[in-house]
């Protein structure tokens, strides 16, 4: 008996099995008896407990979660397979998401309207893709409604990748009603637990409402935020995103001495108009090394319309360190306060926000 096929006299291509194979007769990993052809097919030697197979290629469980070990056609704009832990068929994409695999498979239909059907445990993502974890989804242009469910222990460790988050990049998307519990997110530029960056090269408006983090760590070099990394908006003066009802309690870490724009909610909110944020607060620590600039409790740097916001987290950075914002132009700030400890490596702790609202 075999994980995939008991006895093969035909052909098997681009297939695999991981099943536990136990028993008293001939036990093999992929195929027990083979008189046919088997190509580009694999079995998991770890989970199956079988080191041999009449055909196929044996891979360890770790290797099975690394797409580079498979001669499969992986999805870009087409392709049958996508890595989500093990390889999965792109057809497994579903709009009602019940597990981390289905969360990853949003990537094969970026225009869909998705809902969470239950709380998602994503602990396993730490062993995906050779330890780099979940692959950020993007450009996501659809709708995502978490229905007030949570995603726990989402893991991404891609320190040289830009636009890193559950959604790497979005444009004109609607994302709402979801909490990220203990996210562990590491990227390079534009890193946020929920969204790496908002694509500013479209006129689409992204709406984000009722989202939060509970604990966890978000780490990057520049444009790092607890929820959003960067809003890159070079085109018009219109606001291209609206964020309402959000909070961050994850630790936000800038890890580059020359980094800029590290914020509790969003790192960079650029463009002539920036995006609007209302009813948001940060309680996580925001930390950047000496030399880093534009460090803020809500926003690292940019142009903003902020209403009903506050910070109570500790904000630590080099220069331009503020309770609400590190650096800002065209700021419209209404009904806000800071009650967090602010410290800078130099004596330039001078954001307008700091000057006006530091308590």
């Amino acid at each position: 008996m075999g994980g995939l096929v008991g006895s093969n006299a035909g052909s098997i291509t681009t297939s695999y099995s991981t099943g536990v194979v136990t028993g008293s007769t001939t036990l093999k990993g992929l195929v027990a008896v083979n008189t046919g052809t088997v190509t580009n097919s694999y079995w998991d030697t770890t989970t199956s407990g079988q080191s041999t197979s009449a055909a196929g290629t044996g891979l360890t469980d770790t290797q099975m979660m690394n797409g580079s070990n498979f001669s499969f056609t992986f999805y870009s704009s087409s392709g049958n397979w996508i890595m989500a832990g093990y390889p999965h068929l792109t057809m497994e994409n579903t709009t009602s998401i019940t597990n981390a695999v289905q969360l990853q498979l949003i990537a094969v239909n970026l225009t869909g309207s998705y809902t969470l059907a239950n709380n998602i445990g994503a602990t396993a993502t730490s062993s995906w893709n050779n330890g780099t974890g979940f692959s950020p989804i993007g450009d996501f242009v659809g709708n995502f409604n978490g229905q007030n469910f949570t995603i726990t222990n989402l893991y991404i460790n891609q320190s040289s990748t830009n636009d890193v988050g559950l959604f790497g990049m979005v444009a004109g998307a609607t994302i709402q009603n979801v909490g990220l519990v203990n996210p562990q997110i590491t990227g390079n530029i534009a890193v946020g637990s929920l969204i790496g960056s908002i694509n500013g090269y479209t006129s689409l408006v992204t709406t984000i409402n009722n989202v939060y983090t509970l604990g966890g760590t978000v780490t990057g070099s520049s444009s790092v935020g607890g929820l959003l990394g960067a809003n890159n908006f070079p085109i018009t003066t219109l606001s291209n995103f609206a964020l309402t009802n959000a909070y961050n309690s994850a630790s936000v870490v800038g890890n580059s001495g020359s980094g800029t724009n590290i914020g509790g909610i969003i790192g960079t909110n650029s463009g002539t108009g920036g995006g609007s944020i209302s009813q948001a607060f940060n309680s996580g620590s925001v930390t950047a090394p000496t030399g880093a600039s534009n460090i803020g409790g809500i926003v690292g740097g940019g142009r903003n319309t902020l209403t009903n916001v506050y910070n109570i987290g500790t904000i630590t950075g080099g220069s331009k360190v503020g309770g609400i914002m590190g650096s800002s132009t065209n700021l419209t700030l209404t009904d806000a306060y800071n009650a967090g400890f602010i410290q800078g490596s130099s004596n330039v702790v001078r954001s307008l926000v700091v000057e006006r609202l530091r308590l």
Binding site: G2, S7, A9, I12, T13, G19, T22, G23, T25, L89
Partner: protein
């Protein structure tokens, strides 16, 4: 005075004066010859001393043989609104009034007919002459000059037969009445058709005695505007094709059996009740229930021809079979029952037309129709809610155009070998128009015949097949080595979720969601959380044995798969072509075999 008696019930109470005569009750006076009466001069039909069911003493001089007594009380005795005493009672036979009496103080009437006046077995009519109350009784005269006592009349009622009376019919009712014309007679008969009510009184209840056999030899209905119930307490013989129509808002009740090789149509807005076995001895040629009421059926129904049920039906709590040896069975009204009993619809040489819902959440429905295309056709109103469903014979064909009525079987679903089951929300089973399946029942139907096994299918939506754990032996693998799956199945998993929670318990060879696929095409099929418990050879999650030029693409399985030899998470034995497939199924093992 010596040996003098008076009937204190009939005579009335003495209000003045005295009498030296002895007061006795009617029953006492009919119980035996009174003390002092000479048996050489007097005769009597003795009653039981409690009820007035004998005769008064009669003179042998005028009755060379025993007279025939007809007696009873008028309506509502002893508290009639019209007054009990002095009411005129007519006795008619063969179209003539042959005797007239008046009631006593307690409403008792008493005909004493000399032998031969009313021939044995002839139907006679007793009726009340009164402008306010109407009461009729028709009885068949007993054999051997026997009496009819306790023939109590009821208001606005045509009472047919009494205890131990013989057979009556529409024609015999007509014979009793003959050409008599009276507003006191509540019916008429013409050409064997019985019409209840008359020009001045259309409110009539028709009721037979439980021991009276009634031959329905024509239609029974009401005059225009007639109101009333028709109740047959005794057995029925059909001797002609008949329609029985209750009065407005009235009911038809058949408390006993119905037999006879003729057609019967029942119509009652107040509902038809069939409590006895219909056609058990001699099948009816047809049966139609209509009228718009709620019908109640408690016994088997057997016909040689069509059965049509147009009304809402409440079924009884014992196993019931509707059986037609040569016709169709058509359900046109919602049918339901609350018990765990079985309803068997058996049209072994005809069709079953389901045009209404069937609801029995604890019950079983068993269907048998001719083995011909579309012999069982549920329409868009045929919502099915059952505990168990057994398709014994026939070809269930249910293909919607975008919608389907409910088909919910909570416990066991089975298709007997040879029967065919097609249930799809769209499609024709062709390459261009595959059947689009919406539930596990339609999926199970794929395997029903070699015809369905060769058709084209795709899933219309995700299917949770958890109910298969309630099926005896679970889901039946689609296709076998003798009748393999040769068609095309597209799981459509690129647009929808997969089939989940399929349970299969099967000790045979070639076991899987598909048992045996030959020259078939299976694609985009995700089977999650499978539980396959096999103990034979060629056991696979998706397919037991893949043969011929079968292609299996873009498919996967998860769950557990168990078998004895040649077992795979996806496929047991493969001679076809598999690509882009995977299995994470666990527990692939040799089933424990006890040797002790």
């Amino acid at each position: 005075m010596t040996n003098t008696y008076w009937d204190s019930n009939v005579s009335g109470t003495i209000t003045a004066g005295t009498t030296s005569a002895t007061a006795v009750t009617t029953a006492q006076l009919q119980s035996a010859l009174p003390t002092g009466f000479s048996a050489g001069i007097w005769g009597i039909i003795a009653d039981d001393g409690t009820n007035p069911n004998g005769s008064y003493p009669y003179l042998l001089a005028f009755n060379s043989s025993v007279p025939r007594v007809i007696s009873g009380f008028i309506p509502n005795a002893p508290t009639s609104s019209i007054g009990l005493n002095g009411q005129t009672i007519q006795l008619a036979y063969n179209g003539s009034n042959i005797s007239t009496v008046t009631t006593g103080n307690d409403g008792f009437y008493y005909f004493q007919l000399t032998n031969g006046t009313l021939p044995d077995s002839s139907a006679f009519l007793v009726y009340l002459n009164n402008a306010t109350e109407k009461a009729n009784a028709v009885v068949s005269a007993p054999t051997s000059g026997g009496s009819v006592t306790l023939l109590d009349l009821a208001n606005n009622t045509l009472q047919v037969g009494v205890t131990n009376s013989g057979t009556l019919s529409n024609t015999l009712l007509g014979t009793a009445k003959g050409s008599l014309s009276s507003t006191d007679i509540l019916y008429s008969v013409s050409s064997g058709n019985l019409t209840l009510g008359n020009a001045t009184n259309s409110t009539v209840q028709f009721a037979t005695s439980s021991t009276t056999t009634y031959n329905i030899d024509g239609n029974i209905s009401y005059t225009s505007g007639g109101v009333g119930n028709i109740t047959f307490a005794g057995p029925i013989n059909l001797t002609a094709n008949s329609t029985v129509t209750a009065g407005s808002n009235g009911s038809n009740t058949f408390a006993s059996t119905i037999n006879g090789g003729f057609g019967l149509t029942l119509s009652a807005a107040g509902g038809n009740t069939l409590s006895g076995v219909v056609g058990g001895s001699t099948p009816l040629t047809s049966l139609t229930l209509s009228g718009g009421g709620t019908d109640s059926i408690n016994g088997n129904i057997t016909t040689s021809g069509n059965q049509v049920y147009n009304d809402v039906i409440a079924l009884g709590s014992s196993a019931i079979t509707f059986s037609s040896s040569g016709g169709n069975i058509t359900l046109g009204g919602a049918l339901s029952w609350s018990g765990s009993n079985t309803l068997a619809l058996a049209a072994s040489a005809g069709n079953i037309n389901l045009n209404s819902s069937i609801t029995a959440t604890s019950g079983t429905l068993q269907l048998t129709a001719q083995n011909a295309t579309s012999s069982i056709t549920p329409n868009s109103s045929a919502a099915i809610n059952l505990a168990n469903f057994i398709l014994s014979q026939g070809q269930w064909y249910q293909v919607g155009s975008g919608s389907l009525p409910t088909f919910a079987i909570s416990t066991h679903f089975s298709i007997v070998s040879g029967a065919q089951f097609i249930r799809a929300i769209n499609g024709a089973g062709t390459s261009l128009s595959p059947y689009q399946l919406i539930d596990i029942f339609g999926v199970q139907g794929i395997g029903s015949t070699s015809t369905t096994l060769a058709d084209y299918y795709q899933l219309n939506n995700a299917i949770n097949a958890a109910v298969t754990s309630n099926w005896t032996n679970g889901f039946v693998p689609i296709g076998s080595s003798t009748t393999p799956f040769t068609g095309t199945f597209n799981g459509q998993n690129s647009q929808i979720d997969s089939i989940s929670n399929v349970v299969i318990n099967n000790s045979g060879t070639n076991v899987g969601f598909f048992g045996y696929a030959n020259n078939a095409t299976i694609s985009n099929m995700g089977l999650t959380n499978l539980t396959i418990t096999g103990s034979g050879t060629n056991v696979g999650g998706l397919v037991g044995q893949v043969a011929g030029s079968t292609t299996l693409t873009s498919s996967y399985t998860s769950g557990s798969v168990a078998g004895n030899t040649v077992v795979g998470g996806l496929v047991g034995l493969n001679a076809g072509s598999i690509s882009n497939a995977y299995s994470t199924a666990t527990g692939i093992h040799r089933t424990a075999v006890r040797t002790d």
